[in-house]
């Protein structure tokens, strides 16, 4: 007993040292390559922009105008569009990825599993740019699967149609990433738990609901967050598939940073986007933490 307690103490001392060593590189890279540029952007966002110039001029006056001008319906719409389309895409992605991951981990022979894994990795490695054009040619306004969407009563020129195509584009990139993320966790679930539940008379779907789902919940939350963050910061996919009519925040920000060269305004939009995303993700994380603590 005494021995065991000493052992625990020993672990926690070296734990602290190890923790510092393991976390330091990430902290350093993050502080230099991510935090500092963001602080720099925050400073830029408070500068006054002189139309016709490239970025803010030296000794520009300080102003909150760049934030103030964002308080309008049009900007709120872009923010909302980004989050709802991104959110739907993330959820649809999980709905497909979850059974797919289970299927690959538990239902396939080793050979088929290798094949499936290879397929997923090939998908992850194929260019988003070209996949996006491929989706345009599949579901877009001249796509070969267009009749499918038209039979549901959607006009090819309608906003709903474009939304669906953008979601399809996002989901296509989300499924492989989510499936690979979920597979790791599912491999760690003891299949005997499921057998035990079923031999005790629980129907299979109920056994999954009470065993597979809760045990893979941390991974599912993690994968949903990865998918959501990927979707809301997408740039190329909405740019090509949105036909310039469905805009994401990235597209608006890029416009400010490149051709208009209004850095202060672009920086202000970036920070508003960052704050909103942080809020949404904190809510999800906290809800999950609260639920798992209960």
């Amino acid at each position: 007993m005494t021995n065991a307690r000493q052992q625990t103490a020993a672990i926690s001392i070296s734990d602290r040292r190890d923790r510092a060593i393991t976390l330091a590189p990430a902290v350093l890279v993050l502080a230099f390559g991510f935090l500092s540029p963001l602080i720099n952007l925050a400073i830029e966002s408070l500068k006054e922009f002189t139309p016709g110039r490239v970025g803010s001029v030296e000794n520009a006056a300080t102003t909150v105008q760049n934030y103030h001008e964002l308080a309008n319906q049009a900007f709120a719409n872009v923010l909302l569009t980004t989050f709802w389309i991104g959110g739907v895409a993330a959820l649809v992605g999980q709905l497909v990825a979850f059974p797919l991951a289970y299927f690959i981990v538990r239902r396939l022979s080793p050979r088929m599993r290798t094949l499936a894994l290879g397929f997923l990795i090939t998908l992850v490695l194929s260019s988003v740019l070209i996949k996006t054009y491929a989706i345009e040619l599949t579901f877009g306004s001249v796509g070969i699967l267009r009749p499918l969407l038209l039979t549901v009563g959607l006009s090819a020129n309608s906003r709903e149609y474009i939304n669906i195509v953008v979601i399809a584009g996002l989901v296509h990139s989300i499924i492989p990433v989510a499936t690979l993320t979920l597979m790791g966790a599912m491999q760690s679930i003891d299949p005997r738990l499921l057998d035990a539940a079923q031999s005790l008379g629980a129907p299979g779907w109920k056994a999954h609901l009470s065993i597979t789902l809760p045990l893979s919940l941390p991974a599912l939350v993690s994968s949903t967050l990865i998918s959501l963050t990927f979707a809301i910061s997408a740039f190329v996919i909405p740019m090509v598939l949105g036909r310039g009519r469905v805009l994401f925040m990235s597209n608006v920000i890029y416009t400010r940073f490149s051709d208009i060269a209004n850095y202060p305004s672009g920086a202000a939009i970036s920070l508003v986007m960052l704050a909103t995303a942080l809020a949404v993700i904190s809510v999800i994380t906290l809800a999950h933490a609260w639920k798992s603590r209960r």
């Binding site: 139309p51 490239v54 049009a74 001249v142 020129n157 310039g244 608006v252 490149s258 208009i260």
Partner: protein, 356 residues
Amino acid sequence: MDMTRRRFMGSAAALGIAGTMTGLARSAFAAGPELTAVEWGGDVVEAMKQIAAAQDASTFNWVLHQGGAGAILPKIKAVWPNVDFDYVAGWEGSFNSMVKEDWLETINPVDIPNLADIPEKIIIRDGKGNIKAVPRAVGGMYFGARTDIAPIAIKSIDDLLSPDLRGAICWPGPTQSMMLQIVALALHAGGSETNMEPGWKLMQDLAKSGNIGRVAVTDIDFTNSLTSSETSVGFFAEPGWAAVAKNFPVTRFTKDSNFKAFLYQSGFGVMKNRPNTRATLDFINFAISPEMSALYAKVAGEAPLNSKASTPDNLKHLAFTPEEFSSFVYVPDYNVVLEQQDAWSKRWEQDIAPLL
């Protein structure tokens, strides 16, 4: 010989030198400096590579514009005054920005004798009258249609609101052609770049009509939309129309009093603080010579500005007699247009984008 050449090709690739085979082989023996030039991709850089291959004073490292001509500006700003580029290809839009930032070397006409053959009034100058860029060719931005699939024959700007054109128009986004497309609408409705309200009103009607099938945010959006038959009518710069016209029948409404056309110059902006300014100027002088101007026009699809160079037949829509010029071409005040970009793009986001 073969071995040496192959080795050279390898090291050339390692240095990132792009070039045609002949260009590389020729430049292998050149003793001159290597210049870094920012050019547009596709036919334009192809034309410049051919021009570079015809001289052996300098070798070239070609860098391509990655978006509109404005997309290079943040990258120059970020490293200024240690700029990487000897010259940057641009047009009125980007040159005016660069003049404001004071990035461009002043051009002394003595250094570029061929400048004498370029029309004086197109040359960009700063407030003090110094020459700031060397024009090499002229292109245009105008309305047009892919005639094989356009639902109706378009006679005037009002026809763009016709219910027959549902989803058939490809409209340039707010970063394209400095929003001269909305200036065109304003001109049609009695306004101008200094009185844009009539243009915005017409733009709103157009957005509400449901006729805009795609908003093109890059050149390739425009050509893809028209070649894939997604849309058939639009407003765009000549390179976009030329790309569609390679495979499909296209009519550009350039000599039609119901439409206004805009012309732009394509040219060279020489960057300050570079070690090889002399060689850069020599190359530019060579590139705007009558023979090279003709070669450029043939390959790049922009009409020559050098009065001694002939305009190829396929660019007749870009050649205007003085009378045609005064009735069909509108020359906006580019300084006003440049300073309004920020306000116009915000106006687009607020008033137009939600209607699309």
